[in-house]
Amino acid sequence: MLSTIVFSVLAVIALASGIAVFRVDSMARATYALAVSFVAVGALLLMFDLDYIGVITILMMVMEMAIMAIYMIMFMGMNPALMPMSMVHNKRWSAILAVGTFLLLAGGALLVPWPARSGSPATDLTASLGEAIMGSKMLVMLTVSPILFATIVAALVLANPRGRYDRWGDDLQRARPDDPQQGGLGK
């Protein structure tokens, strides 16, 4: 019973702040609302004994949202003043589609005869996760890591306008790179 109450409270927080993301008037508030939503879901994961995944979700998402806030301000230029903003297109169809999807998913959740629970969780879930990653599911992680690496490289290439010829000169002979902001190493 207690777990249902805790679950409901956290779920309502997650949902309400999720809705707030698209309702509030300031970019900072939208970003932080999303962060709250993630923290609530992270706490929900703790209820399923998923300690590691839950805390990692909180960690990653708060970090991401702090960075996101900067991008928001950088690209959208709102002052903290609660600037009314409506930047939506085809609002009506989006709403209809979203509600339709919800009905479909919720109906599925209620109507599908879910099988009974098979197996039981390990005593130390974090350790078992580690063993899974380094054992039977190693291939998954081996695939994920080059993808992450490729993402870093691709994102840098997309976002960085200056190549090494811009920095080191046409013949790459400059003693120090010509950067708008000098770094700590001069590399």
Partner: protein, 100 residues
């Protein structure tokens, strides 16, 4: 707390995100919609894992979803920066010509 309850909550999160992703004009806001959808997916995946088959392998799926979120985010920021640089705009509508 039952599987159905958690799934409904997850579906609601997913659909709020879907609405945002479809309706918002600004790239960063669209990304926030996508994040919210993935948030729902994480919750649903955790519920399936817990109520149906709490084996160690299931947790790996959650890690993969989180990794997918970071990839989505990193690429989203990079594309937003690129769009902003090349067009001085970050509206999705103004990037429709990218669809060729």
């Amino acid at each position: 707390m039952t599987l159905q309850l958690v799934l409904i909550a997850a579906a609601a999160l997913f659909c709020v995100g879907l609405y945002g992703a479809l309706s918002q004009q600004v790239v960063v806001m669209v990304m926030m919609g996508l994040e919210l959808m993935l948030n729902g997916v994480i919750l649903a995946a955790a519920a399936f894992w817990w109520f149906l088959a709490p084996t160690p392998d299931g947790q790996v799926l959650l890690l993969v979803v989180i990794a997918a979120m970071t990839v989505e985010m990193a690429m989203g920021f990079a594309v937003a920066t690129l769009l902003h640089r090349s067009r001085g705009s970050d509206m999705t509508d103004s990037a429709t010509d990218l669809s060729g």
